[in-house]
Symmetry: C2
Amino acid sequence: MRIGELGQATGVDIETIRYYEKAGLLPEPARRNNGYRAYGASHLERLAFIRHCRALDISLADVKRLLEFVAHPEVDCGDIDCLIDAQLARVRARLESMRALERQLSALRSRCGARHSAGDCGILHELVAAAHGEACACHRGVPPEQDKTATSDMASAGRRKA
Amino acid sequence: MRIGELGQATGVDIETIRYYEKAGLLPEPARRNNGYRAYGASHLERLAFIRHCRALDISLADVKRLLEFVAHPEVDCGDIDCLIDAQLARVRARLESMRALERQLSALRSRCGARHSAGDCGILHELVAAAHGEACACHRGVPPEQDKTATSDMASAGRRKA
DNA sequence: GCTTGACCCTGGAGTGACTACAGGGTGTTA
DNA sequence: TAACACCCTGTAGTCACTCCAGGGTCAAGC
């Protein structure tokens, strides 16, 4: 099948397919007389494998390693476990920071209800206050990293009126 | 203060500071006779503002917009709300997919306990099965996107023994 | 005066995983 | 013959940095 058909069958953009080939994840397919790439079932499968791994957010470098395990099933699989464990640890760490982020943004969002000028906007106030190292709604409880005192146009920005 | 001092004070890498300047987020500072950048309190504050926004995962483009609100407090703040709302929506969507990802990886991880050859590895089996469109532990319940049947070396990879 | 070492400068390249585009060729249908 | 969908290669752009080469500046110590 042609590249467009492979893309259709797998839901993968043809640019991405060519990218995988260049990156060494998909083997170079045979070519037709007109130079078009000619894919077979094995390409389709391999591409599906890659996409499934990517859906699990596994990096292309790690997908490459997994493909080597597929090609060499006699190898000890301890490294596969490590790879998945590391991936799981990464995902869990990111999950934690995303949760914190969600809390912070929610808190920030609650600072501003009705429409008014930016000078009176609680969100902007909070962000500017955070720049001063003051406790902000979004990072409340988290010790501020800054301890500087400074006066500038930003310090008064939130106070000026239109 | 010099760039190194500003970096120290804010915990920001000096390369990143120069990057922000080139990207138009930090105004170009004055220069000493020797060409060194000379920063003041306003720069420190602005940099802290940027970093706080980045900690909330707000893109540099959006930080730029927020900085314009800081400079023009007379403007209606509706756009700030939209910006934060959009950010919150992005974060929540990502959070959801991260949660699903965590579940999927956990399920996948539980497929392989003791050490053995890759050919017997449940993780690899699952990943290959997923490439065939079979229901996999990681995406169980989720209808498979692929419906192709294919035979290749990948199909038998998980079955061969060392 | 000389060396050492910390600090600063610019400009450019690299990261990951694509995505977009320019400028061309091929194949089918009307 | 033209229109149009599809394919090719090669290059550049995205985001937010990060790293590096190759140089200049400055204070302290010998």
